[in-house]
C-alpha cells in the first residue's frame, strides 16, 4: 500500500483514474497545477487505486495525500 502525496501546493485540475482501476508504474494519476504550470502526478508503483482523496478543482497543500494505491 502506498500513499501518493502532493509534491507541492497547487490545484487539482484533473483526476485521471477511478477507484478500482489498475495502474502501472509511472501512469498519470492526477494533474496538478502550480505556478500556472500543469504537472502530472504519476503512480509510484503498479497496483490498484484504493482511494482517491481529492477531486477536480481542489486546492491541495504539500504532502497532502491525493491517492492511495494498493
Amino acid at each position: 500500500m502506498s500513499d501518493v502525496t502532493a509534491p507541492m501546493a497547487g490545484k487539482v485540475i484533473d483526476v485521471k483514474v477511478n477507484v478500482g482501476d489498475t495502474v502501472n508504474e509511472d501512469d498519470d494519476l492526477i494533474i496538478l497545477e502550480a505556478m500556472k504550470m500543469e504537472m502530472p502526478i504519476v503512480a509510484p508503483t503498479s497496483g490498484t487505486v484504493k482511494e482517491i482523496k481529492c477531486k477536480k478543482g481542489d486546492s491541495v497543500g504539500a504532502d497532502d495525500v491525493l491517492v492511495v494505491i494498493e
Partner: protein, 368 residues
C-alpha cells in the same frame, strides 16, 4: 497646393520608417497569433508604429504625448520601480527561505551579465552602454529598462526588446545548455521536500532583505525598496487591498505606459543602426553564460554538500520568473517523472531577481 501636400506625413516617409512599420506589424502579429509576451508586444508594437508616422511629433521633446509618458514615466524612474512593487506582491519567497543555500545559484547566474559587459566593450561600446547591454543577461525586463534609461537612453529600444524577447525564449535557449553540462544521473537527483515556512519568517524576509541589500548597494534602493514593499503587502496579510492593487490594476496601468514608451523610443533614426544587431548577439551570449554558470555552480556546490542539489535548478538563477523555473521542472520530469523540481527552482529564480538588481545597482553607481 504644394504647401498642403507638404503638411501631410506621406511625403516625409523614409525607407527606415517603412522598415520600422514592418517590425511593428511583426511584433503585433507575434503577440496576437503566437501569444508571445502579448502584454508587452502589443503596446510596444503600436508605439513603434505611431512614432514612425512622420510629422506626428509624438516624441517631440517637451511637446509630444509619448515623450511625456517616456519622460515622466521612465526618465523620472517611476515605471520600473512600480513594476517591481507589483512583482513583489506576486512573488512567494517561501521556497527560497526554506532552502537558503540555493540563493547562491541566483548569484552565479549573474555571471553572463559580465561576459556580455566585456563583450560589448570589445565590440567598441562605451562603458555606460556596455553596462546596459550586460544587464540583459540578468533576464529582467524592468531592471534592464531602468539601467538603460540611466546610462544609455539611446539604446533603450534595443536593450528592452532584447531582454524581453530572450526571456520568452528561455524554454528554447536553456535546455540544450542544460543537457550539455549535466549527466543523466545528475538530472535524476531528487531533492528533499521543502520545509513549510512560517508566516513570521515570510513577513520578516522583506524587511531584512531591503536592509541588507540597500546597505551594501545603495544604488539598488529604488528597485529593491519597491520590490520588498510589494512583498510585505502580500505577506503581512492586513493590506490585501493594497497588495491586490499593486499586483493587478497598478501593474496593468504601468505596463501600458511602459510598453508604449519603449516602443516610442524606436524611431527609425534611433533604432536602425548596426549596433542593434551587436546588442542582440551580446544579449544571447549573456543568457547562455548565465545559464551555464548557474548549472556549473550547482555542480560545484555538490562537491561540498551532503544533500545534493539537482544542477538543473542552477539554470533557474537567471531571473526570468517563473519561465526558468518551469524549464527546470520540465527537464527534470523528462528524466524522472516522479521528480518535482519546480519549487526547488523557484529559490534560485527569485534570488536571481535580487542578484540582477544588485548588479544593476553597481552599474548605476560606477558605470556613468
Amino acid at each position: 497646393m504644394l504647401e498642403m501636400v507638404l503638411t501631410t506625413g506621406v511625403v516625409h516617409l523614409t525607407i527606415g520608417n517603412l522598415i520600422m512599420w514592418l517590425i511593428a506589424f511583426l511584433f503585433i502579429y507575434l503577440a496576437i497569433t503566437k501569444n508571445y509576451e502579448p502584454l508587452l508586444l502589443v503596446p510596444i508594437g503600436f508605439g513603434i508604429l505611431v512614432v514612425n508616422l512622420p510629422l506626428t511629433f509624438l516624441m517631440q521633446e517637451g511637446e509630444g504625448l509619448l515623450w511625456k509618458f517616456y519622460h515622466y514615466g521612465l526618465e523620472w524612474e517611476v515605471i520600473p520601480p512600480l513594476i517591481f512593487l507589483g512583482l513583489g506582491a506576486l512573488t512567494d519567497f517561501g521556497p527560497m527561505i526554506a532552502n537558503p543555500k540555493t540563493l547562491i545559484l541566483g548569484a552565479g547566474a549573474q555571471f553572463g551579465v559580465y561576459v556580455a559587459f566585456f563583450g560589448a566593450l570589445i565590440l567598441g561600446f562605451k562603458i555606460p552602454e556596455a553596462c546596459s547591454i550586460g544587464i540583459i543577461g540578468g533576464a529582467d525586463g524592468p531592471t534592464t529598462i531602468y539601467t538603460t534609461v540611466h546610462l544609455a537612453p539611446h539604446l533603450l529600444g534595443a536593450t528592452a526588446i532584447a531582454a524581453y524577447s530572450y526571456m520568452s525564449l528561455v524554454p528554447i535557449i536553456q535546455p540544450p545548455i542544460m543537457r550539455l553540462l549535466t549527466t543523466e544521473k545528475e538530472r535524476k537527483i531528487r531533492m528533499r521536500q521543502l520545509r513549510p515556512v512560517s508566516k513570521k519568517e515570510k513577513i520578516l524576509f522583506p524587511l531584512v532583505t531591503v536592509m541588507v541589500i540597500c546597505l551594501i548597494v545603495p544604488a539598488s534602493a529604488p528597485l529593491m525598496a519597491m520590490f520588498m514593499l510589494g512583498n510585505l503587502f502580500k505577506e503581512c496579510g492586513v493590506v490585501k487591498r493594497l497588495s491586490d492593487t499593486a499586483a493587478n490594476e497598478l501593474m496593468n496601468i504601468v505596463t501600458i505606459l511602459l510598453g508604449i514608451s519603449v516602443g516610442a523610443t524606436m524611431s527609425a533614426e534611433h533604432f536602425l543602426k548596426p549596433q542593434v544587431i551587436f546588442i542582440f548577439i551580446m544579449g544571447l551570449v549573456a543568457f547562455a553564460f548565465s545559464t551555464a554558470a548557474g548549472i556549473l555552480l550547482a555542480k560545484f556546490m555538490n562537491l561540498f554538500f551532503k544533500e545534493k542539489i539537482n544542477p538543473l535548478i542552477g539554470s533557474a538563477g537567471v531571473s526570468a520568473v517563473p519561465m526558468a523555473a518551469r524549464v527546470s521542472q520540465i527537464m527534470g520530469a523528462k528524466y524522472d517523472p516522479k521528480n518535482f523540481l519546480l519549487m526547488h527552482a523557484m529559490g534560485p529564480n527569485v534570488a536571481g531577481v535580487i542578484g540582477t538588481v544588485v548588479a544593476a545597482g553597481v552599474f548605476l553607481a560606477l558605470g556613468r
